[in-house]
């Protein structure tokens, strides 16, 4: 647009009459520019995405959607579908701003999720290196176990964790335990609550078979209401499909 204004400016210097003529040319240029590629919208979207880049880890799905939308906008612009490009660029900008907002809101939980991820990775290593370790200590805490999508059955890895949890519960007979079932963020609220309750119940049943008395255990299903991880990546979902143990 700047060349249009400089054109007006230079013509204005020449004479008033020519100014009107210059304005007409400028308007013609401006009108024809409306049909061109939406460079401003695309630039604005790119800028928003750049400034939201740090939110990729904390608002992954929204950020990825923004990225996808911008890509589609650029493709549309390249193919000459300017209206679509403009619409998509604006949508990308909105999504990037939303991602930034979500990430700010989730900052605390996002940090927790990152820590949880690190903890899971660390534990995996521990399991590999200390298969034969059997020492029980007073500081042992009951370990969280994880489930597959839409599953409440206990897999092989979780059995080993539950065996350890059961040993601790048998050694600490005065402790009562609350088993909290959870699901990932996907799917409908009511079914997720029933699924999370079922996860808690299968854990309770398994611990019963190992000798833990049923009256010491209560089960609460939280559905998707209390996530441990806040992103929308597969790792986040995996961390959320879980049963936690609270002693009291």
């Amino acid at each position: 647009m700047s060349h249009v204004f400089s054109l007006i400016y230079s013509l204005r210097l020449l004479s008033r009459r020519r100014f009107a003529f210059g304005l007409a040319i400028a308007l013609t240029l401006a009108i024809s520019a409306c049909g061109g590629p939406p460079t401003e919208a695309l630039d604005a979207a790119e800028k928003s995405l750049l400034s939201a880049a740090w939110s990729e880890d904390c608002a992954t799905e929204t950020y990825n959607s923004a990225q996808r939308m911008l890509r589609e906008a650029q493709e549309a612009a390249a193919a000459g579908r300017h209206d679509e490009a403009k619409r998509k660029a604006e949508a990308a900008q909105r999504l990037a701003e939303q991602a930034k907002l979500d990430a700010e809101l989730n900052a605390e939980e996002c940090e927790r999720r990152k820590n949880a991820l690190r903890a899971v990775e660390a534990r995996t290593e521990t399991v590999v290196h200390n298969v034969t370790a059997t020492n029980e200590t007073e500081t042992f805490s009951l370990e969280t176990i994880y489930f597959d999508f839409d599953e409440s059955s206990i897999n092989e890895g979780s059995r080993r964790t539950l065996d350890q949890n059961a040993r601790w519960l048998l050694n600490n007979q005065t402790q009562k335990v609350r088993i909290e079932g959870h699901t990932d963020a996907r799917g409908t609220a009511e079914y997720n609550i029933a699924l999370s309750q079922r996860r808690g119940e299968s854990v309770k049943r398994y611990l019963q078979t190992l000798g833990v008395d049923a009256p010491r255990m209560t089960v609460v299903g939280y559905g998707k209401e209390r996530p441990a991880a806040f992103g929308d990546r597969e790792q986040d979902h995996a961390l959320n499909r879980r049963a936690e143990f609270k002693t009291h």
Binding site: T62, S65, A91, R94, L95, Q98, A99, D102, L105, N106, E109, D150, R178, A185, R186, G187, T188, A189, E190, Y191, I193, A194, L195, Q197, R198, E201, T218, V219, V220, G221, Y222, G223, E225, R226, P227, F230
Partner: protein, 438 residues
């Protein structure tokens, strides 16, 4: 004054082209639309700001215009046109047909026009809301009785007018002034609260209190609100009426997803007191508990048929989550869906005959579908626009409210029962499980 001032032909050419090329339903809008409830395309409608008479506060006129525009954006069958900028005089027109520059409005892209005037009458505002057919240069007389406005609250008058306009063009009653319950979360993992709001997304009122989890709201008897609260570390069923909060069911484990049927006065709900999610019914005071399902799988999410004789629900007894139906006494259970591995959250149309539900499709996105009970046909209502979930029917069965992530966040949207027209009703995200009032 009333001499026609058409804009230069060159500028108008595209408009004429559109009018000629598109289906002519909007043209017929003023006459015969009653036969066909939904116009073939959105009707372009212009909404002028309200004109204050006798020195009434001008800001009120802007508010009235804004509320009217919002209603027509959400009414689904309209396309609200941008305010005309080339003829500023249009905004100051009076209500009389003779004072209306129909050509000016037509050139701004409108085929239908709404104007408002208001005057202060003692303590109350008096509104005069009018509808015009821009193509025929005449006013359209609406058959409805405008409600009296109490104080400055002009919304009931605007809602009644918008409803009358919808009725004029579709033959169906409008839905403005009705309420929706939903869950609102300030952020993921934060407090979840039950709120009520109007169908235009305004008037959000918090029903639950505290900083905990309050979810799965449903309408109970006499405007009471049922929901599940974790305030006592267990999902208990609460009934809220006025300022009273009564715990209706607090068995250990689930007391979730209450569904009330006005026809028999009973509440269906999910309890897991017997170590597994099962469906029960009870009277609205919590007495006379009866168990309907009995197996080792998940049975949850009950939804009554309009005559209270049957209940649709979700079970994974066949190995995956599917929609089932049974009689109100638990007999005769059978699967209604078989395709896919995740069909949940059934909502039975209050006109009967149809059940909307949420399914996870082959691309792992969640979308809304509707099952025709007579033919067994399943039709898709949403596609390729984020996740669309948790539908609830309008009282007349002509609309659905649902959540969609298409614009980021989880916003409330409404759509026509066939999915053709869809519009957001909330500006912000964080909404879940809407329930439309009776």
């Amino acid at each position: 004054m009333s001499k026609r001032h058409r804009a230069p032909a060159l500028l108008l050419a595209p408009l004429f082209f559109l009018l000629l090329a598109g289906p002519t339903a909007p043209m017929a809008g003023a006459q015969e639309i009653v036969v066909n409830p939904l116009p073939a395309q959105r009707i372009p409608i212009a909404v002028a700001d309200g004109i204050g008479r006798d020195g009434a506060d001008a800001q009120v006129g802007v508010e009235i215009g804004r509320t009217l525009r919002r209603c027509f954006e959400i009414a689904l069958i309209f396309e609200v046109t941008a305010p005309p900028t080339f003829l500023p005089g249009l905004a100051q027109e009076g209500l009389a047909v003779g004072e209306t520059n129909f050509d000016g409005w037509f050139n701004s892209g409108a085929e239908v026009l709404v104007k408002a005037a208001y005057v202060r009458d003692g303590a109350n505002l008096r509104l005069d809301l009018r509808l015009y057919d821009v193509l025929k240069n005449q006013e359209i007389k609406l058959s409805y009785t405008p409600p009296a406005t109490s104080g400055d609250n002009f919304k009931p008058a605007v809602y009644a007018f918008a409803n009358a306009v919808i009725k004029h063009f579709t033959g169906n009653d409008g839905f403005f002034g009705q309420q929706i319950l939903a869950v609102r979360k300030s952020k993921r993992g934060g407090a979840a609260h039950v709120v009520s709001l109007y169908t235009d997304g305004t008037g959000i009122t918090q029903i639950s209190s505290g900083s905990g989890i309050n979810i799965l709201p449903a309408w109970g008897p006499n405007g009471a609100i049922l929901y599940t609260s974790y305030d006592r570390d267990n999902p208990d069923l609460i009934m809220a009426s006025g300022s009273e909060r009564k715990t209706l069911s607090s068995h250990s484990g689930l007391n979730t997803g209450a569904a009330y049927c006005p026809g028999n006065g009973r509440i269906a709900l999910t309890l897991s007191k017997d170590d597994n999610a099962e469906i029960y019914t009870m009277k609205a005071d919590g007495s006379d508990l009866r168990r309907l399902t009995d197996n080792s799988w998940i049975d949850t999410s009950p939804a009554w048929s309009p005559d209270c004789s049957r209940i649709a629900f979700v079970s994974n007894r066949g190995g995956s989550a599917q929609i089932y139906v049974m009689n109100a006494d638990g007999s005769g259970a059978r699967a209604l869906t078989t395709a896919g591995r995740y069909n949940t959250s059934p909502a039975w149309s209050r006109k009967g005959g149809k059940i909307a539900f949420t399914a996870r499709d082959e691309y792992n996105s969640f979308d809304l579908f509707v099952l025709d009970l007579e033919t067994g046909n399943v039709e898709r209502l949403t596609q390729d626009q984020g996740n669309n979930e948790e539908a609830s029917w309008s009282p007349d069965g002509n609309y659905l409210v649902f959540t969609s992530t298409r614009d980021g966040g989880s916003r409330l949207f409404i759509m026509t029962a066939d999915g053709r027209y869809q519009a957001p009703i909330t500006d912000a995200g964080g909404f879940e499980t809407p329930a439309w009032s009776w």
